[in-house]
Symmetry: C2
Subunit: 189 residues, 2 copies
């Protein structure tokens, strides 16, 4: 078992924190081997951000993500750029506000940004909503483990809001799973 | 130019955050290529924590740290375990409370934990003190870049305390640099 996940968007969306939480969920609470990586180069200096998580049931000798099983894209640019690295049949999770053109009808589309704006009045916690959706959509992730890792890493004062955001994300993930594939005409969301 | 740093200790000391800050300092504000990695396996489940940062002026093809230029050790276990990965003449930075036996007289010893206890009344910010000391001791790191990355990543409410902790660390690093090598008899601190 080897699962490669990439969380991509722009700096400030909290994707590194989300990746560290996923890594701790799998590494500390699910007994997996995990490597979590972020790279910074010219692109990052343009404001884009990407964090990778590789989860395995055995020692990870090659720590670079090459064939993604899961791609979370929170900007159109990230979606366009990394979709080519997603395996055929891999899970693409996109936000409906930030990503307006899906490269495939098989994408899971969630209104993460819209939801955090409505519920919290700001964009904070969009990463936690995404975590909830990932916990729901990626079968190798255990809800309780992700929740535990989330709880132990976020500032105590924000715990209640984070847990709320997580559950919102779980529900959005469930709805996205039950939604029919995007029609070709809908591929432009 | 390729510099490999490892920050090692136990979970809760904030070493992953410190490593992300170093990576952002070098990647976003110093124009370097950077790969920042944490791995989780059976050891991590025992409570130990380690985060690696590789900084280069060209593309990083091999993203694993193998020959460390810098090792920050905030537990005796981390020091004993990873000292063998430190290059000859590499920089070893240890805390005097957590690491009581130095594997070499050439170590830089700082009272990071003692200082944060005295100044803040708790262990929080020990990672930021360590960051300050690293910024001072590692010539490839630029003070202002580390400060900028620190400022943009910590919660705004903690910014003043973090900047204070950073400066304390810079001073401790400076003192450690000026201190004579540990005498063989002092190797047991």
């Amino acid at each position: 078992m080897r699962v490669e996940l990439r969380l991509a968007g722009y700096g400030g969306q909290g994707l590194i924190t989300a990746a560290v939480i996923l890594a701790e969920a799998a590494g500390l609470y699910m007994g997996r081997e995990v490597v979590q990586t972020q790279s910074y180069g010219p692109e990052a200096r343009g404001g884009s951000s990407k964090a990778d998580v590789i989860i395995s049931d055995s020692r990870i000798n090659y720590p670079k993500a090459r064939h993604l099983d899961v791609l979370l894209a929170l900007t159109q640019e990230a979606c366009d750029k990394y979709f080519q690295n997603l395996k055929e049949g891999g899970t693409l999770l996109i936000d409906e506000t930030y990503v307006t053109v899906s490269p495939t009808p098989q994408a899971y589309v969630i209104p993460a940004r819209k939801t955090v704006r409505e519920v919290f009045g700001k964009d904070t916690f969009i990463n936690t909503v995404a975590l909830g959706a990932l916990a729901e959509l990626v079968e190798e992730l255990d809800h309780q483990a992700v929740k535990k890792a989330l709880s132990s890493r976020v500032p105590p004062k924000t715990l209640d809001d984070n847990l709320k955001a997580f559950e919102l994300g779980v529900n959005l993930g469930r709805k996205a799973k039950d939604a029919p594939p995007l029609k070709p005409a809908d591929a432009d969301l």
